[in-house]
Amino acid sequence: MLAASRVGGGSRLDAITVRGLEKAYGPVKAVNGIDFSVPAGTVFAFLGPNGAGKTTTTEVLEGLRNRTGGDVRVLGLDPWTDGAALHRRIGVIPQDFRFFEKIHPREAIEYYGVLFNVKPDAMALLEQVKLTDKADAMYETLSGGQKQKLGLALSLVSNPEVCFLDEPTTGLDPQARRAIWDVIRALKASGRTVFLTTHYLEEAALLADTVAIIDHGKIIVRGTPDEIIRQHGRPDRISVEAGPEVARYLQTKLGMTAVAANHHVDVELPEKTDALRVLQALEQSGLTWGRFSVIRDTLEDVFVRMVGKMDEGVVHPEASA
């Protein structure tokens, strides 16, 4: 059963819709009028620097915090007033998940099973998050990553339709991070909706169907990772191992922007055929040059640039654009 709210005549059902959401902590506007929706069965990544308003937004969606303004629906429910009904249908790992010190992961899952009135297969869940070896260890003896994995396992006990993961991989080692990525992929494969906040851009690029970047409580860009890179990334560049004289040569010969740094020369390629012209010119120059590669902006490059410009007041948030 998924929410019946539809986006602007679109045909897909949305698991989450957010309209003009605002949240203030006293004078601090943590979230300042944001809109987005997450189609059911997709992975949505919410990106932003520390303090951007990710956790605040997530907690409003989870019904842990009331909003100051705007409207929010998760599975068609108002998270604040219909919290009890909603909580049976969503799974949550809060940022900084903590649990009772004196409990074993297996017992914790069984406890949640009784609370949600389901019969979870504790070992299968622990297997899914790669925590079987700690099934009977005391929670307080688990490492940060293992605790996080338990949090993930607990959030899955009730077989939720929507999962909220607030920076689930922050501070984890690469293995633990991959284990959590695998779970997210499995969730998506089984038709679940995933709302993921992170400040690891490669994570978003790898897992997310759609991405929104939030900064200072406003969404500055959103779309699929490819769309964002295409619209907001710089042109592709060719990077050649060469000295500054090569940069000067190319600039005068071709009239293209060439920048020399760290024994490399980067040349912007407004058109993809420009790469051929650059290589041809190099071949004819008689100057020394070595290996070359073509560089494309990553989501991270876009993120760093856009957040940087936002801080300088150059980019205007999407809402007011």
Partner: protein
């Protein structure tokens, strides 16, 4: 309210408790240490009933005789009716005899009592003997209450109960047991609930629970059940060890059970209240101590309230624990169920107020 969720939460909490030595120490080991400590201190005192010289200035009235016989029947005092030499006051007489306590029943006692006019009996005590004064004052107050209670209900005063504690003679340690049980009913829920409430909130555990179907009242009920069980076990252990090792005669009567249930209910709620009105675990600990410490010593735990100065007695009467311990005193020592019922009524009101206040101030999620 879902019983399975309450039981599941109770079991998780109980298991955590057994895995954490500190909690178990305060709840079980500490009361045992207390009873052994006091047992050793009072080992050789072997005191039986306190001798009570009585001047009965109303010796012809049935009321005064039945009052004295009820007093004698408590078995904690041994009434000895005396006639004073002309012109001598009872306190002088007591001084000469070396008796620490005495009682004066005024003339007209019977008539006043039947006419529902205020009448008081006078207990003369030597404050340096807190034990005898405490016992006598406790017994006299108990019997007085019983008389008032029955008079109010129109029941014939001659039917005043006889002691249900039998003929056992109590030792000094016996008199301490209800206070020590009260002490553990206070301390073990209070200290851990203050801690739990404030650290759970700081660490986001309540928000974690908000995300499950467990409700606040289910959670609270599970905690109350746990402390009823653990303080019940502690009380049984104290009585058992006292009987085995120090020959005490006091027993947990069925009438004490309501106090063993309402006590933890009261202090789990109060602990939670102290924990939830404080912003940080540090202030919660301070608030908890400020609330707990006066009660730990001034509610009749180690020293009988009746041996306090009048001002301090008034103060003791506003402490919730006083009514728990008095109830235990009345049911375990003096067999005075009438007064115990009044104590119980007071306890129920206080506990309900604390419980409701705790549930209202206790928020699992922030705005």
């Amino acid at each position: 309210m879902n019983g399975r969720r309450v039981v599941a939460d109770f079991l998780v909490f109980a298991r955590g408790y057994f895995r954490s030595p500190i909690g178990l120490f305060f709840s079980l080991v500490f009361p045992i240490i207390l009873i052994i400590l006091f047992g050793v201190i009072f080992q050789n005192s072997g005191q039986s009933a306190v001798n009570l010289p009585v001047v009965n200035m109303d010796h012809n009235s049935a009321a005064s005789l039945s009052f004295l016989s009820a007093l004698n029947n408590t078995s904690v005092v041994k009434v000895q009716v005396v006639t004073l030499p002309a012109g001598m006051s009872l306190s002088t007489w007591l001084g000469n005899q070396g008796d620490p306590v005495g009682l004066i029943v005024p003339s007209g006692f019977g008539a006043d009592f039947q006419g529902h006019t205020n009448v008081s009996v006078t207990v003369i005590t030597d404050p340096s003997d807190a034990f005898s004064s405490g016992v006598v004052l406790g017994a006299v107050q108990g019997v007085t209450n019983q008389f008032n209670f029955e008079a109010l209900h129109g029941a014939p005063f001659v039917s005043v109960q006889t002691a249900t504690v039998g003929s056992a003679s109590f030792t000094e340690l016996d008199y301490l047991v209800p206070g020590l049980i009260g002490f553990s009913i206070l301390t073990s829920p209070m200290f851990s609930m203050v801690e739990i409430t404030s650290t759970y909130r700081k660490e986001g555990l309540f928000r974690q629970l908000t995300l499950t179907p467990l409700t606040r009242s289910e959670w609270l009920l599970a905690k109350i059940l746990w402390y009823v069980v653990i303080t019940g076990i502690a009380a049984c252990l104290m009585v058992f060890i006292g009987a085995e090792a120090f020959n005490i005669h006091i027993v947990l009567s069925v009438y004490s059970i309501p106090f063993l249930i309402i006590g933890p209910l009261m202090f789990v709620s109060l602990g939670m209240l102290a924990g939830s009105i404080s912003r940080t675990p540090e202030t919660a600990a301070i608030v908890g101590n400020v609330v707990t410490f006066p009660m730990m010593f001034l509610s009749g735990t180690f020293f009988p309230v009746s041996s306090f100065s009048p001002g301090l007695q008034d103060f003791a009467h506003v402490l919730p624990l006083y009514y728990i311990i008095d109830g235990l005193d009345q049911t375990m020592l003096f067999g005075n169920t009438g007064r115990a019922l009044i104590d119980l009524a007071v306890c129920i009101v206080i506990a309900l107020v604390f419980f409701i206040a705790a549930v209202i101030t206790f928020k699992w999620r922030e705005e």
